[in-house]
Symmetry: C2
Subunit: 226 residues, 2 copies
């Protein structure tokens, strides 16, 4: 099938100025003594950029990452024990970013139903804005070595907070009486929101629109509300 991962690496960045050629691999200058973490950051950024452009963690190879940074492949192994860990660390940044963007979206929202909608919308927007990380985070094969979802979900704020949000709705009698378990309602709500998000990513050619998204989220909640 020859899954050539595309020439990759956005040639658009202007701060590396002269180069942007794929071949020559402009060798960077060596770091000073205590500054090994600088390369670590550069590796993460390069891997992230490759993940964004290819949208496939398989297409992010240690060799391409090294070339993008301007370093030889073994140099990566001073900072990451293996490729799985590298991919996971890139994804982990996005888990944090998802947490953050939902947190930010709900600031100042007091009505619990409205808060639910805002959470859903922020989640969908995150997926639309970061389709390739979203794919790694939520659409990977469960056996994939870089899928650390289960480790994440246990300590993530957004699931705990969404569940708390739903508990408030249940306690104040906003939902139909058959919806009593906040965790299960949360799981169902997440599945619905994920359905839209992942389908927008997998099938971008379908006629998605802002209005469609808003109505979708609205009726997800209407379906369980009194």
């Amino acid at each position: 099938m020859t899954t050539r991962p595309v020439p990759a690496v956005s040639t658009g960045s202007e701060d590396d100025g002269p180069s942007a050629e794929p071949e020559p691999s402009p060798r960077r200058s060596r770091n000073r003594r205590g500054e090994g973490t600088r390369l670590r950051e550069e590796i993460l950024t390069a891997a992230e950029e490759l993940l964004l452009t290819t949208g496939d963690s398989d297409a992010v190879s240690m060799r391409l990452v090294a070339e993008a940074v301007g370093v030889t492949p073994p140099a990566i192994y001073q900072h990451f024990p293996d490729k799985t860990t590298l991919i996971w660390e890139v994804s982990a940044r996005y888990f944090a970013a998802l947490d953050h963007s939902i947190d930010k979206a709900v600031v100042g929202v007091s009505d619990p139903i409205e808060e639910l909608e805002v959470r859903g919308r922020a989640y969908v927007d995150f997926g639309r804005d970061n389709p390739e990380p979203y794919r790694v985070m939520f659409m990977m094969h469960p056996h994939a070595p870089a899928d650390r979802f289960n480790e994440w979900v246990l300590q993530s704020r957004i699931f705990r907070e969404a569940t708390a949000n739903l508990q408030v709705c249940i306690d104040t009698g906003l939902f139909l009486p058959e919806y009593t378990d906040a965790f299960l309602v949360s799981l169902a709500y997440w599945a619905r929101i994920h359905g839209l998000t992942s389908l927008m990513i997998s099938k971008p050619a379908l006629p998605w629109s802002d209005q469609f998204i808003d109505q979708y989220i609205h009726s997800c909640i209407h379906g369980i509300a009194r």
Copy 2:
């Protein structure tokens, strides 16, 4: 409801027991003159089985397929021009199977709301019973060469029929007045059902249950019904 469409020929019978030897590759006897299509079928079956066990079309290699059939890799090219076509033909069987199992499920159901629920349930069951093909069909990267979803959706019966089903609900005043476009309602319903199905596949460790699925589907429809 096991919707496994093609027998998937379990060559792994009981006598090879705990360890399936990878090495020996029992060479099959050559086909007679007009029987080239027999090998074609065996290749498809072997590729299907590999897709089912690995759950990853990248992991289905021409070499592994050839070995499973007991043939050398070039022999495959007499029946399939390339790997992409082979993977697609395997998936195509499942698109047909999905059509078939939904058709079968709705036989005898006359109430349009109940029919919608039955469609949803049959779809979820199909995904649960065929997670790896489902992944290839609906969760692949849109740029993946084997993703022929767009070719399929245009000619698939199930989307046309689901949309017709929804049109009946709209025409007979079963839905809230803001839901008027059967195509958009169909898209939203599909997104919700897909959300559950794909999450069950990606995150099988979460506490999914039959009761949960039924309530999920029920409230998908309640959300838009009067």
